[in-house]
């Protein structure tokens, strides 16, 4: 029995292929939303409200996935909703990563009370009820896409700060960093040439999983009505709409959920692959 078999590693190529094509597909949909979507996402047609998907008895191919309570096309809203989710995921992670990297590097290098203080503040942030934080910030700044990105970035940065600090401590003890110090490299050079590249892999994996998590959270707070304004087509807003029509029109809430599943599954599969490397 080889080690590979004993450890239960399966050929990973299929998963990467599936993950990558799901993610690329969603990115393409987000970019080309206006071209691909059969109708404008907010076009109402009250005469055709709550139409079932095309393959059901009363459905029509004009609205392949049916319409919502205002007669808006579910498929078109779904396609446009891709934008919100991807922007929140990518933007939130980018913000959390850059904030966390700064704080983590400073903490790891400064040590002493600076390190102690920043890390304890991170603990506080992580003990803070998430929803309350979201409501407070959205309440003050108003519901908008930029503010949602801001909330998620700030809420999530302690995680990255902790990881970055841990990596700094680990790498400072590494032989190649000691060698660079001994040969007289400047601290800036050591950080940019040795420390950052060596923590990139770990941070990339965490970024992928956090991106998936943020897409889930965004739809979750959207479901509570705390994300982007109701007029913006987003998966969370669609879920919130559909919730009130579960008994009559199951498709309004069902398809956004499948879209979220597709996005998080794709990103998680890519993250798994990154972790395996």
């Amino acid at each position: 029995m080889t080690t590979g078999r004993r450890r239960g590693r399966r050929p990973i190529a299929l998963r990467v292929a599936v993950g990558t094509s799901l993610v690329l597909g969603l990115v393409a949909l987000a970019l080309l939303a206006s071209l691909v979507a059969p109708h404008p996402p907010n076009a109402q047609d009250l005469g055709r409200s709550q139409q079932p998907p095309a393959w059901l008895a009363d459905g029509a191919w004009r609205n392949p996935l049916g319409t919502d309570q205002l007669g808006r096309d579910v498929l078109s809203r779904l396609i446009h909703g891709t934008r919100v989710s991807l922007i929140v995921g990518a933007g939130g992670v980018a913000l959390a990563l850059s904030l966390g990297l700064c704080v983590g590097l400073v903490a790891g290098y400064a040590r002493g009370w600076v390190e102690e203080l920043t890390m304890r503040l991170c603990d506080v942030q992580l003990a803070l009820p998430y929803l309350l934080f979201v409501v407070a910030v959205i309440g003050v700044l108003g519901p908008s896409l930029a503010n949602v990105v801001l909330v998620f970035g700030v809420a999530d940065f302690p995680l990255f700060a902790r990881m970055a600090r841990g990596e700094v401590l680990r790498l400072q003890a590494a032989a190649f960093v000691e060698a660079a110090v001994a040969t007289g490299s400047s601290q800036l050079r050591i950080v940019t040439r040795h420390v950052l590249p060596n923590m990139a892999a770990v941070l990339a994996v965490v970024s992928a999983f956090e991106m998936a998590a943020m897409i889930l959270y965004e739809a979750g707070v959207g479901f509570l009505g705390l994300s982007v304004p109701p007029s913006v087509p987003s998966w969370g807003n669609m879920l919130a709409d559909g919730r009130n029509y579960l008994t009559t029109s199951w498709w309004i809430a069902t398809f956004p959920g499948l879209a979220i599943l597709t996005a998080t599954l794709g990103i998680n599969l890519m993250g798994d692959w990154l972790r395996g490397r």
Binding site: R6, L128, P129, V140, F223, L246, T254, G257, I260, L261
Partner: protein, 305 residues
């Protein structure tokens, strides 16, 4: 060990204190409760009177000093919405949340751990594929959406289970599965990973060779030694669940702390929000502390350090 314990305890108290301070100022940033609490056709004078009666017109510093003084004594004031003790409301809702959290975790552990062990002991088998599929899906599925789909299928279409509320075991089934699903996914994955690591260690081979059955070897010897990361995962999630599964309690109208928190936040019920936030952070911090201490119980090597 005592110094370590005291240090960890001090850190925990400090963290909860900081959360209280942050929350106090945060809720005041979200807006004026007087406008929301008073009926819509109240005059400006009536709104002012309410504000004065509640003490919201005083300087923040004064309100804060009073708030801290009371909080230390466990008094979080009266809920604006319910007109009763904020802390009392939480205590009243706690059994429902506790019941849901315990049920959700039990579901996750009873399904996830055996599945992970099956996968690890039979790599590349059907069980392994099933375990990996379950863990991948369970982590990618939005839980609140699973809740909605369960309601559509099991309640609306088939009429098997009650749609919402808390009325005996039947009403617990869907919230339990929904809440436990995410943990189930992570737990299956983690159990599989740690068991794969442990299974070819010498003491497991010894246990096999002295003639113990696979059940005893896998569950007593291997799992016992692989348990620390699993306990951490379970502990952390228990903390979050007790703090209130806001979304899931909202989906199923489960009368727990999470739904109370959501209502308090939306109604700007300041005293109640502060009390819930205090409770949630207290639970998270306590569970983290308890998890750290559990390491010592599970692993004598940690205890000696």
């Amino acid at each position: 060990m005592t110094a370590y314990l005291l240090g960890r305890l001090g850190q925990s108290v400090l963290a909860v204190g900081c959360v209280l301070i942050l929350v106090f100022f945060m809720v005041r940033l979200t807006g004026d409760p007087a406008v929301l609490m008073v009926s819509r056709d109240a005059t400006a004078a009536e709104v002012d009177a309410f504000r004065t009666a509640m003490g919201f017109d005083r300087p923040w510093a004064v309100q804060f000093a009073e708030f801290l003084g009371r909080a230390v004594r466990g008094d979080f004031g009266r809920s604006l919405q319910y007109q009763s003790s904020a802390w009392g409301l939480i205590v009243e809702r706690l059994p429902a949340t506790l019941e849901l959290a315990v049920a959700g975790l039990l579901f996750a552990v009873l399904v996830g751990v055996p599945l992970g062990i099956l996968a690890a002991t039979r790599p590349n088998s059907v069980w392994d594929a099933l375990a990996q599929g379950v863990s991948l899906l369970a982590q990618a599925l939005p839980a609140y959406w699973v809740g909605l789909v369960l309601i559509i299928v099991l309640s609306v279409k088939l009429g098997l289970l009650p749609v919402a509320g808390r009325s005996g075991f039947a009403s617990l089934v869907m919230p339990m599965v929904t809440l436990g699903l995410g943990v189930l996914g992570r737990l299956t994955q983690l159990t599989r990973a740690v068991m794969l690591d442990v299974l070819h260690q010498d003491y497991v081979r010894t246990a096999h060779s002295k003639g113990l059955g696979p059940g005893a070897v896998h569950y007593r010897h291997a799992l016992g030694n692989a348990a620390i990361p699993l306990v951490t995962l379970i502990g952390v999630n228990f903390g979050y669940m007790l703090g209130g599964a806001v979304l899931i309690e909202s989906v199923f109208s489960w009368p727990g702390v999470g739904r109370l928190a959501a209502q308090a936040i939306f109604q700007r019920d300041f005293p109640l929000v502060q009390a819930v936030a205090f409770f949630a952070s207290l639970v998270v911090v306590t569970v983290n502390l308890a998890t750290d201490l559990a390491y010592g119980l599970l692993n004598p090597a940690v205890r000696r350090q």
